[in-house]
C-alpha cells in the first residue's frame, strides 16, 4: 500500500492517548500518525507530542466530524494516498488495520468500514442495538449492500474519497455515520465492510448516555432525509 496516514481525533483523551499511540505504532510501523486534538483542555496534545507523532491543535472543540475533516484536509494537502480513521479512546484495536487494508485490495473498494459485528462477539446496550439495526436497514435499503456497523468510525478511505470529504460542508461536524455511507454511494464510490476488533468504552463521557441517543437518532434521520432531498452532494 502507498503512503498511509492514520488520523486519530481526540478530545480530552489524556488517559488513553499514549496507550493508543503505542499500539498504533507497534501494529502499523509504516504508517504516519496524526493526532487531531479537538480543543482538549487536558494533556492530550502534550502526551501525543511526546510520542513523536504529528499533532494538529484545533483552538476549540468543533466536534468529532470537524476533527476528522481537519485530518482529511491535512492528508489532502500533504498528498497521502490513503487515510485510516481511528478513535483516540482506545475503542478501536489498531491491529485490525491490516483487515481493512486487505479488504480494500481484495474488494477494490474506495472505502472500507471496520465492523465490530463481523469479527469477535461484541456486547452493547439494547438502545444502541436498536439504533444500529435501524440504520443498517436504511443503509441496505438505499445502497442494496448490507452494512452491519454503519456507525463505525474505524475506516480506511482512498484519496479520491477523503479529498472530497475534506472540502466545505461535505463532512458533518458531529455525526458522520450512515448519512456519509449514503452520500458516498450516491457519488458512486464503492463502500464495503471488513471485520475489526473493538472494545466497549468504559471511561469518559459517551455520546450514548442521557438524552443524547434520542438527539442522535433525530439528527441522523434529518441527515438521511437531507441526503435523499439534495440533488448534489
Amino acid at each position: 500500500m502507498k503512503s498511509c496516514l492514520i488520523i486519530i481525533p481526540a478530545y480530552n483523551e489524556e488517559e488513553h492517548i499514549a496507550g493508543v499511540l503505542d499500539d498504533v505504532k507497534k501494529s502499523n510501523p509504516a504508517a504516519d500518525i496524526l493526532v487531531v486534538n479537538d480543543g482538549s483542555s487536558d494533556k492530550t496534545s502534550e502526551l501525543s507530542r511526546q510520542k513523536g507523532v504529528m499533532v494538529l491543535d484545533i483552538p476549540f472543540n468543533i466536534g468529532y466530524g470537524g476533527a476528522v475533516q481537519t485530518g482529511f484536509r491535512f492528508a489532502t494537502e500533504e498528498g497521502y494516498d490513503f487515510v485510516i480513521t481511528l478513535d483516540g479512546d482506545a475503542q478501536h484495536d489498531p491491529a485490525s488495520v491490516q483487515n481493512l487494508i486487505e479488504a480494500m485490495e481484495r474488494e477494490d473498494a474506495d472505502v472500507i468500514i471496520g465492523s465490530r459485528f463481523l469479527g469477535a462477539p461484541y456486547s452493547m446496550g439494547t438502545a444502541r442495538k436498536i439504533g444500529v439495526f435501524i440504520f443498517s436497514r436504511i443503509a441496505r435499503l438505499y445502497t442494496g449492500i448490507t452494512f452491519t456497523d454503519p456507525t463505525s468510525g474505524f475506516q480506511l478511505l482512498n484519496r479520491t474519497v477523503f479529498s472530497y470529504l475534506s472540502s466545505g460542508d461535505n463532512y458533518p461536524l458531529d455525526y458522520p455515520d450512515v448519512n456519509i455511507i449514503m452520500v458516498l454511494h450516491k457519488r458512486k464510490f464503492k463502500v464495503r465492510e471488513a471485520p475489526v476488533r473493538m472494545v466497549e468504552k468504559r471511561q469518559g463521557k459517551s455520546m450514548h448516555s442521557g438524552l443524547r441517543p434520542l438527539v442522535y437518532v433525530a439528527r441522523m434521520f434529518l441527515a438521511i432525509l437531507m441526503v435523499l432531498l439534495r440533488k448534489e452532494d
Binding site: 487531531v36 480543543g39 504529528m54 499533532v55 494538529l56 491543535d57 484545533i58 483552538p59 476549540f60 468543533i62 470537524g66 475533516q69 481537519t70 484536509r73 491535512f74 494537502e77 460542508d169 461536524l173
Partner: protein
C-alpha cells in the same frame, strides 16, 4: 386607543428605531443584521396607529378581541426574527469551523518551519 397611549407607543418605537440607527452609526451593530430590528422599530412606530387597521381586520377575520390579532402578528414576526438569527448562527458556525481548521493546519506548518530553521 387614547391619544396618550398612542404617544407612548410612538415614543417607544421611535426610541428603539433611533437607538438601532445610533448603534449602526457607531459600528456597534452590523448594518446587514440591524435591518430586521429597524423593521421591528418601524413596526412599533406604526403600532401607535395600528388599531385603525387592526380593529376592522380582526372583526372581518372573526376575532372578537382585536389585541389577539396583534399578539399573533407579533408572534409571527418574532418567530421570523429568531429563524433569521438561527440562519446567521448556523452560517457563523460553518465559518468558525473553517477558520479553526485552517488555524490548526497553519500552526502545524509554522512549527515545522521553525524546527527546520
Amino acid at each position: 386607543m387614547s391619544l396618550g397611549m398612542r404617544l407612548v407607543i410612538f415614543i417607544l418605537g421611535t426610541s428603539l428605531f433611533l437607538t438601532i440607527l445610533e448603534l449602526v452609526r457607531k459600528k456597534n451593530f452590523r448594518e446587514e443584521l440591524s435591518l430586521v430590528w429597524l423593521l421591528i422599530g418601524f413596526g412599533m412606530i406604526l403600532a401607535s396607529i395600528a388599531d385603525l387597521v387592526i380593529d376592522p381586520l380582526a372583526f372581518s377575520l372573526g376575532i372578537g378581541y382585536p389585541p389577539a390579532l396583534v399578539f399573533l402578528i407579533i408572534f409571527f414576526f418574532l418567530v421570523l426574527v429568531v429563524l433569521y438569527f438561527s440562519v446567521v448562527v448556523s452560517d457563523l458556525k460553518g465559518r468558525n469551523k473553517e477558520l479553526s481548521q485552517k488555524i490548526a493546519l497553519m500552526e502545524y506548518r509554522l512549527n515545522t518551519l521553525r524546527k527546520k530553521d
